[in-house]
Amino acid sequence: MPSTTEIETVRSALNSFGVRIDDAELAIIAAGWDKTRAAVDRLYEPAAVRYADPALRFQAIPPGA
């Protein structure tokens, strides 16, 4: 079962996104959220990533133009 904090965090984020769902489905989505959030936070930890360039690039000329 997700914690109350997990449920309220996920509910708030989904509401901001524009989605409102029932408590049963919210519990499914919120289950394990803290663990996922911790994994996302670890993406900021490796020293090598501190000044890394993202795998994203904008092109001034759009595709096909």
Partner: protein, 471 residues
């Protein structure tokens, strides 16, 4: 008359005059007539179109107009890929029916030009992410090796279709493992090309920066034949580049093969996994390769990066429909895509920064080895009843610890999967062969060499084998 198992054999038989494309296609359609109601391979069949195309192929070949190895070959297309002959549904009630209507995806146009006989659109997970939802009006894809089990996904129908002889090759897409997982569970080969090797134009996106289009077929060589047909820029997909192949090698003699065990042998792995993997490594060594134990850099980070990038990109694509048509999505689609609403824009960019770091670390790794091998999954195909949650819905999250594919989507390197044995329950086990970016020739050479001394890829499931020897 024996129906060939592989594209390679069928192409030769067509040219030898021992079979016609119409006979091949009828045999494939017969398999669908017999087994598809149970197997759930097709969302749409194009029987009349396929037989007309097959007849055309026979006439062209007889006249000396040879379009290449796919000419006259029955071929399946995952239903997130546009094809003019029918609608694209993404196995969803939500996708606008006008999407892709009357148009061919670049890869479809290319195999059509090569003379392939497309027999229909194959089942997928909803939008390539949502597990089967029995409340929605779509077939449940099943595994020919045991219909009580899942064929894998999201290219479910393509994997099951090749394994059951409903076509000889087909298209899948791979964002977290969706070519490699069904190929593994169904006991066939599958190739996720390098990101940017094959254009994604005309494919419903899941993760823009992660999606790969590629083939599933019986053999590594069959995958090569399809890749050679579909690779290269189309002027539409900005990610697709005209990268040259790295130099191929003629034999494995002296080639260094990285062997990855860390993270790939969990406690609940099938008992046959370790001996099957060891035997595969030994087979490569007997072919002259030099196995070297290695670890993969940033393993955990790349699994997270795949999840963050995929869900963020999918949430952006689906937001409007999620707000207005939440209940029309499969339950697991909306639960997974919703994760994209829970992470921040900064998290998304950080995932993309971390992907760059891991890519660079892997370049160093591939400076010391020519290819890397590891299991595709710790187990065989799971039974559907083990994937059902307390509310009776299919929950795929239980698989996350036993499937070893998303790392490679995050870094974008090509990966070939080939069968390497069977579980204690007689379900296929699979070997991943990863290469450097744009090193498809290398991994295909490893796979072809391996399949030259093993026959796991030629094993067929007894459940659907009746028509394989049609006479």
């Amino acid at each position: 008359m024996t129906i060939p198992l592989t594209v390679t054999e069928a192409a030769q038989a067509l040219r030898d005059g021992t079979i016609t494309s119409v006979e091949l296609t009828r045999a494939a359609l017969d398999q669908a007539d017999r087994f598809d109601e149970e197997m759930g391979v097709y969302l749409a069949r194009f029987d009349e179109y396929a037989l007309n195309r097959a007849d055309e192929a026979d006439r062209e070949l007889a006249a000396g107009h040879d379009r290449g190895p796919l000419h006259g070959i029955p071929f399946g297309v995952k239903d997130i890929i546009a094809m003019a002959e029918g609608p694209t549904t993404a196995q969803s009630l939500v996708l606008d029916p006008a999407w892709g209507a009357g148009r061919d995806a670049t890869v479809v146009a290319r195999v059509k030009d090569a003379g392939a006989v497309i027999t229909g659109k194959a089942t997928t997970m909803e939008f390539a992410i949502g597990m089967v939802d029995s409340t929605k009006p779509f077939p449940t894809p099943r595994n020919p090796w045991n219909p009580a089990t899942w064929p894998g996904g999201s290219s479910s129908g393509t994997g099951a279709g090749v394994a059951s002889g409903m076509f000889l090759a087909g298209f899948g897409t791979d964002t977290g493992g969706s070519i490699r997982i069904p190929a593994a569970y169904c006991g066939v080969s599958g190739l996720m090309p390098t990101f940017g090797r094959v254009p994604k134009s005309g494919v419903v996106p899941l993760g823009y920066s992660l999606d790969h289009v590629g083939p599933l077929a019986r053999s590594a060589h069959d995958c090569r034949l399809v890749l050679d047909t579909i690779a290269g820029p189309d002027g539409v997909d900005p990610d697709c580049v005209a990268a040259p192949q790295r130099p191929a090698f003629e034999s494995l003699a002296g080639r260094r093969i990285g062997v990855v065990r860390e993270h790939h042998f969990p406690a609940d792995a099938d008992p046959n996994l370790q001996p099957a993997f060891d035997a595969a490594v030994a087979a490569l060594a007997e072919l002259g390769a030099d196995p070297v134990e290695i670890t993969l850099p940033y393993w955990e980070e790349m699994l997270t990066a795949d999840l963050v990038a995929m869900c963020s990109e999918a949430a952006a694509y689906h937001r409007g429909d999620l707000i207005s048509r939440w209940d029309d999505f499969f339950a697991s689609t909306r639960a997974t895509v919703a994760l994209g609403a829970l992470v921040s824009g900064a998290d998304y960019v950080q995932a993309q920064r971390m992907r760059r770091v891991a890519q660079q670390a892997l370049v160093q790794t591939f400076g010391t080895v020519d290819a890397i091998v590891m299991p595709t999954s710790a187990t065989g195909a799971p039974r559907y009843d083990t994937l059902t949650d307390a509310r009776g819905r299919i929950d795929v999250s239980a698989l996350f610890g036993t499937v070893f594919t998303p790392y490679w989507d995050s870094v974008g390197n090509p990966v070939l999967v080939v069968p390497m044995g069977f579980t204690v329950d007689g379900l296929p086990l699979s070997l991943q062969i990863a290469g450097p970016a744009f090193g498809e020739d290398t991994i295909l050479a490893v796979g072809e060499a391996y399949q030259g001394v093993t026959d796991w890829h030629l094993q067929t499931p007894a459940h659907t084998s009746a028509a394989q020897l049609a006479s």
